[in-house]
């Protein structure tokens, strides 16, 4: 027998391992190129500036083999969505077909996230799928931006593409294009983004055909299997290295947009050999407001944290997730059923991700940081810009403070776990595009962070002044009551909220239903700081002094939180008084 004698060349492959590695590199380049094409040809700021999209390439079974860096929660739904198309159309999938889908109850996240799927045929045989998902700025529904914070049914959140042809055997389905144009507030932008998404999947098809021509179909399809199998192997080894047992965590959802009540969520993570089960049974039932997520989004949210624990940096694909099972009964906040609203699903997925993260933190301390002010803190502003004579919609996730690790302070102002390689708006670009002025963008030092041997990272303060008379605001921030968590003696972080100054009325809130704003009105957004790690009284006094001198914290907080007393000059540590204070606390 010739097999199994040539080391890593084994595994029943006809092509050699070096060729498979080369093709693997090329598949990664294909996904990267899809992303470049989508971002650069897009027509909406939320895609070209914020990068609210992701692209991937799947094998004929729909298993993701290569993806772009992008939104983590999108990449986790690719395989589910491709399989929905496969199940629905089966043998009727033809060369030249391209499908569109965005149903949160069938593989999706929320209506705004529109998936475009192109089957790739090689020699007349279905060989692979290219997919991209991008956030459309508006997809119709009750409010500009399609994210009413007080929605009670999914029907208020826009229009649904339940897996339909946008191209059928090369022919554009104009009826669909007209339906889209007639039902969204910014049709040019929507169709521009559809063009960009179509370009990205077409590029992928071209590249796949080139690969098959050069290396042969068999080499490419064996590379698909090679990618999935090698990733699964590393993944199982990583899970097996974790101690067997069940690890639990609990958390709260702070309001759902309809009520300000808090809702209990929980998880139990069970490690059994090289299998892992993440079970959300016991979490609250689906809520009236739109912070629910559907099962596909939940699975995706868990994948993000699972990948972070087993191997954060190797390129992601479906193979990594073969050891993973996600469980929860239907109808919870994480497995909502139609017609529950899911517009702000990322509040649900963010919560689900962080529950698993928190549960695993004690057994994977070198893979985690402490709790972040984990919410996308999305603000949607829109209306009619009279100066330009055009409708406008601006959707913006805010960045939050992240938690400390056992080695370092947390990162300041960074995109939350549900997002990924996404950007804040440049102030100069934002002021040129939208009738809004930015009065401040600063670290939220007044709000503070979790103190610790290593402290949490700061959130931000961002203030907008409205420059038009008919703006509409929706905003919904999580983590507004329950503080970011901390372990090993660190302090909890701080919360997210915003202040609205509308006319003579000023109020503080975390979730705002559709609110009319006029010229001169202000929204001031505060995001929280991350949790600290380790005993703050063990933080070197010189580091505390440096942060007082740079106005991160006051001398009072230095004394209270860190036990550091400064000399009268404010430029040196009073060593004696500090030693005394710290000794007294020990």
């Amino acid at each position: 027998m010739a097999s199994a004698t040539n080391g890593r060349n084994g595994g029943g492959f006809e092509t050699d391992v070096v060729t498979r590695e080369i093709v693997r590199g090329k598949l990664l380049a294909v996904a990267d190129e899809m992303g470049v094409v989508l971002a650069r040809s897009s027509m909406s700021p939320v895609i070209y500036e914020v990068l609210d999209f992701a692209c991937g390439f799947c094998d004929a079974d729909g298993e993701l083999v290569s993806q772009t860096n992008g939104i983590t929660v999108f990449t986790g739904t690719f395989s589910i969505q491709v399989n929905i198309i496969k199940e629905k159309f089966g043998d009727r999938i033809r060369p030249g077909d391209i499908y569109m889908l965005n149903d949160p109850y069938h593989g999706g996240t929320h209506y705004n996230d529109v998936g475009v799927v192109k089957p790739v045929f090689v020699d007349g045989e279905l060989f692979a799928f290219a997919i991209s998902i991008s956030h459309w700025t508006d997809i119709g529904g009750k409010a500009p931006g399609s994210l009413p914070a007080d929605a009670t049914e999914v029907f208020q959140e826009g229009i649904c593409f339940p897996g339909i042809h946008i191209y059928k055997e090369g022919e554009r389905q104009d009826a669909i294009v007209e339906m889209v144009a007639a039902n969204v507030r910014l049709p040019k932008m929507a169709l521009g983004d559809l063009n960009a998404a179509l370009a990205s999947v077409r590029i992928a098809e071209n590249r796949c055909l080139e690969l098959c021509e050069k290396y042969g179909k068999q080499a490419v399809s064996e590379t698909f299997r090679h990618i999935l199998e090698t990733s699964e192997r590393v993944s199982r080894e990583a899970v097996a290295a974790l101690p067997d047992g069940t690890y639990e965590a609990e958390d709260w959802i702070d309001g759902d947009g309809i009520t300000e009540e808090r809702f209990r969520t929980k998880v139990a993570v069970t490690i059994d050999g090289d299998d892992i089960t993440v079970d959300y049974t016991g979490s609250c039932e689906q809520l009236q407001g739109p912070v629910n997520c559907s099962r596909s989004a939940l699975v995706s949210a868990v994948k993000t944290v699972f990948k972070a624990i087993v191997d954060p940096q190797s390129p992601s694909n479906e193979g990594w997730f073969r050891p993973l099972k996600v469980e929860a009964p239907d109808g919870t906040v994480f497995t909502a059923t139609k017609p529950a609203p899911v517009g702000w699903y990322y509040e649900g997925t963010g919560q689900a991700s962080e529950l698993a993260w928190k549960a695993l933190a004690p057994i994977a301390p070198k893979r985690v940081s402490m709790g972040s002010a984990n919410s996308l803190c999305v603000t949607v502003l829109g209306g009619h810009d009279r100066a330009k004579g055009e409708p406008w919609v601006m959707i913006e996730p805010s960045m939050v403070g992240w938690g400390a690790t056992d080695e370092r302070d947390g990162n300041c102002v960074t995109s939350a776990i549900t997002n990924g390689d996404t950007f804040n708006y440049s102030i100069e670009l934002l002021e040129a595009k939208f009738p809004v002025r930015v009065n401040q963008y600063a670290l939220n030092t007044p709000g503070g962070v979790g103190a610790g041997r290593h402290r949490g990272g700061y959130g931000s303060i961002r203030e907008y002044e409205i420059l038009t008379d008919d703006a509409v605001l929706s905003a919904s921030y999580g983590r507004s009551i329950e503080k970011p968590w901390a372990q090993e003696g660190g302090d909890e972080g701080s919360c997210n909220y915003f202040e609205l100054h509308v006319g003579n009325d000023a109020r503080r809130a975390a979730r705002a239903p559709t609110t009319i704003m006029k010229r001169g009105d202000i929204i001031r957004m505060f995001t929280g700081g991350g949790g600290g790690y380790g005993d703050p009284f063990e933080r070197p006094a010189e580091e505390v002094l440096a942060e007082v001198r740079a106005d991160y914290i006051s001398a009072e907080r230095a004394r209270e939180d860190y036990g550091v007393v400064l000399a009268a000059s404010g430029r040196a540590v009073d060593e004696e008084a500090t030693a005394k204070l710290r000794a007294a606390a020990a």
């Binding site: 070096v18 590199g25 470049v36 990733s231 940096q313 690790t405 740079a550």
Partner: protein
């Protein structure tokens, strides 16, 4: 009289001198002297034996700027910003490229919060002043900078790309009161929008300025001391040169001067070979860099990011830099297995010390150079001009760990290492070619650097280029390219307008304004003399609603809006697979490149004297040609090959600083200049 180019690299300082009268080149290479870099320059001058008094032009490039930043040895720098925005430099863009890593680390700003000062002032996106500059706020800035012993200050206000007045006023005020501190206002370096990117650019300029001022000052002294008294030019990242005095004010534009010079060299080679479209690949000890050159000039971008990687965003710099893709793959790159047991090569390199295992200087990790020795490509006794012998036994011992991991013998393992590193290089080459809509079949591949000629032939074949060209002195190629570099500066202006509102006269007017600016710059530039200035216009256009434009070349002598639009639609389709003929188009940014035509050194043609295939022939040896198998290969000495010689692979050509490989089925021709031209049958 003659022209002298000097390039300081991490390991070696190179010199190339062109004697105008004789039409001959002299070269010298000596170890870089990190303590005082000017010493290495003077060492090469002495080594070369040239007569300093004969030098009438001196051009210099090197790693001073990039090293100061990489090693974080720049000046103590402060930042002055619009009130409310001092934390923008620390907040950055908030993105997480390392998206599954819950412990990633964001870039640290080059100015700590303690030294970031706010001043009350505000301008809007249209350039209207909303709040006048409160000059009284500056007194505190001055006193705090004195207390904190600040050496450099960057100034960046919102929307200064359109309305720079407040920045200019603050710069003047601070220059007067803090005469010993270097001051950089962001608009002096870049006029592009996005506040974080512009602030970071200004900060890094300020951060390196005191060092560059001192360094260039010392170099001027040392050159004077060595009796080299002529115009001194500095090589820039944009592929052009400038005077030492301008460089001292804009040091950040020197960042990638070495690679930029190599790109120019490649353009010249393309020109001489009548190949207007060139892909340039430079393979050194640690990295490989590549770029594409069309219309005889490398593409220049303002989207460069320092210390960028797949997992780190890096620091954006909005200054023109030759559009280079750089990967961690070179002769010293180490082969290893990742956790999944997959063979990887690089990005970690054995560097020059200890170097590859075969150098016998204590290296034990298997590198690409070791693989090349094991496979018979490199001659153990003729390496680096025979300066030292290579130890194949040590190379094999190091490669053993790869062989046992793969379950193969040592030679097969070495072949796998070469194929893997070449696959990385191919991906980088595709990134600059195919992925940008170019068809490699229209391009020639020019290879430089010590390792380029060794990998060029198989890479060229895989990429499908017309031919592979190995230039003269591939190991000194950056200095060679610098020698023929012209003074250049890029001028740009953003005038956002829909196409239907743009007339040919408007386009001409914008370019005329830019041209005046260029003429003023050259009038005040000492190293320019009477040279004629050449202008090249480009316009960034986009479909209405898009942000990212596509740049098209414009004939500024006879502007036709219709022709510009047609070129845009074509370029968009080529880049992004689609065109939108019915969608309105926007004109965004006008770009004018002004370069002075200086006499290039005339390349001399080879004379056949003393050269023949027979004289060049060395003993044949067995070598592995990766995918093409193991063959008995003829070996030739490059310096003795006659012009017009035609040979078929498999074969090897040896010279002092490089080894060229020609695969089976490929043909090698020596052209009149002595370039090696490799084509597939």
């Amino acid at each position: 009289m003659g022209r002298l180019a000097s390039d300081i690299g991490g390991t070696f300082t190179d010199l190339v001198y062109f004697d105008d009268a004789e039409g001959s080149l002299r070269t010298a290479k000596s170890l870089t002297t990190p303590g005082d870099l000017t010493q290495g320059v003077i060492d090469t001058v002495e080594l070369s034996g040239l007569a300093p008094g004969e030098v009438d032009f001196f051009v210099h490039g090197g790693t001073t700027v990039i090293n100061a930043i990489t090693e974080r040895k720049g000046a103590r720098t402060a930042l002055v910003t619009t009130a409310g925005f001092r934390d923008v430099l620390e907040i950055q863009r908030g993105n997480r490229p390392d998206l599954y890593n819950l412990r990633f680390e964001k870039e640290r700003p080059f100015v700590p919060r303690l030294l970031r000062f706010e001043v009350r002032e505000r301008v809007d996106a249209a350039g209207t002043v909303l709040r006048p500059l409160e000059k009284s706020d500056l007194d505190l800035v001055v006193s705090r900078c004195r207390e904190e012993e600040v050496e450099a200050i960057a100034i960046q206000f919102l929307h200064s790309y359109v309305a720079p007045r407040h920045e200019a006023e603050v710069a003047a005020y601070l220059r007067e009161r803090l005469p010993d501190v270097s001051i950089t206002a962001s608009h002096e370096i870049t006029r592009e929008w996005r506040e974080y990117e512009r602030a970071n650019t200004a900060v890094l300029n300020a951060y390196v300025q005191p060092i560059v001022q001192t360094y260039f000052g010392r170099l001027e002294e040392a050159l004077g001391g060595a009796d080299i008294r002529c115009a001194y030019a500095a090589m820039q990242s944009n592929g052009g040169t400038t005077s030492f005095s301008w460089a001292k004010e804009h040091p950040i534009t020197l960042m990638e001067s070495g690679p930029a010079a190599g790109c120019n060299g490649a353009a010249i080679v393309g020109d001489l070979c009548e190949e207007p479209r060139v892909i340039y690949l430079d393979i050194g000890g640690t990295t490989a860099k590549c770029t594409t050159i069309e219309d005889g000039a490398p593409k220049v971008t303002t989207e460069y990011r320092l210390e960028y990687s797949r997992t780190q965003f890096g620091y954006p710099l909005r200054v023109p830099v030759v559009d280079i893709v750089e990967i961690g793959a070179g002769g010293g790159s180490i082969a290893w297995f990742d956790k999944a047991g997959l063979l990887k090569v690089g990005p970690v390199s054995a560097g020059a010390d200890p170097g590859p295992a075969c150098y016998g200087r204590g290296g034990t990790e298997p590198t690409v150079t070791d693989a090349k020795l094991i496979t018979g490509v490199i001659n153990a006794t003729n390496f680096a001009g025979g300066q030292f012998d290579l130890d194949e036994g040590k190379a094999r011992a190091a490669m053993e760990k790869i062989a046992s991991g793969l379950g193969t013998d040592v030679v097969e393992a070495a072949v796998a290492v070469i194929r893997t590193v070449e696959a990385n290089m191919i991906n980088a080459l595709k990134l600059v070619s195919i992925q940008r809509g170019h068809d490699p079949r229209d391009f020639a591949l020019v290879v430089g650097g010590g390792g380029g000629p060794m990998h060029g032939a198989p890479l060229g074949r895989e990429l499908g280029v017309k031919e592979v060209i190995v230039p003269l002195y591939p190991g000194l190629f950056s200095a060679w390219g610098m020698l023929a570099t012209e003074p250049r500066r890029d001028f740009m202006q953003t005038v956002l307008r829909r196409a239907e509102e743009v007339e040919a006269g408007d386009v001409r007017a914008v370019f005329a304004g830019l041209r005046e600016e260029a003429e003023r710059y050259y009038q005040t530039d000492a190293h320019m003399g009477e040279a004629e200035i050449a202008y090249e216009g480009r316009i960034d256009l986009r479909y209405l609603g898009q942000e990212h434009p596509v740049t098209v070349l414009v004939d500024i002598e006879s502007v036709e809006v219709e022709a510009i639009l047609a070129a845009f639609h074509d370029a968009h389709e080529k880049t992004y697979t689609f065109r939108l003929d019915d969608t309105p188009v926007e004109f965004v940014t006008y770009r004018l490149t002004a370069s002075a035509k200086v006499p290039r050194p005339e390349m001399t043609r080879l004379t056949p004297d003393g050269r023949s295939i027979q004289a060049a022939t060395r003993p044949a040896r067995t070598a592995d040609f990766a995918e093409d198998g193991r063959h008995e290969a003829a070996v030739y000495e490059r310096d003795r090959l006659p012009p017009g010689a035609e040979l078929t692979g498999p074969l090897i050509v040896e010279e002092a600083t490089a080894t060229t490989l020609v695969h089976p089925g490929q043909t090698l021709r020596v052209d009149d200049y002595g370039f090696l031209r490799i084509t597939d049958a």
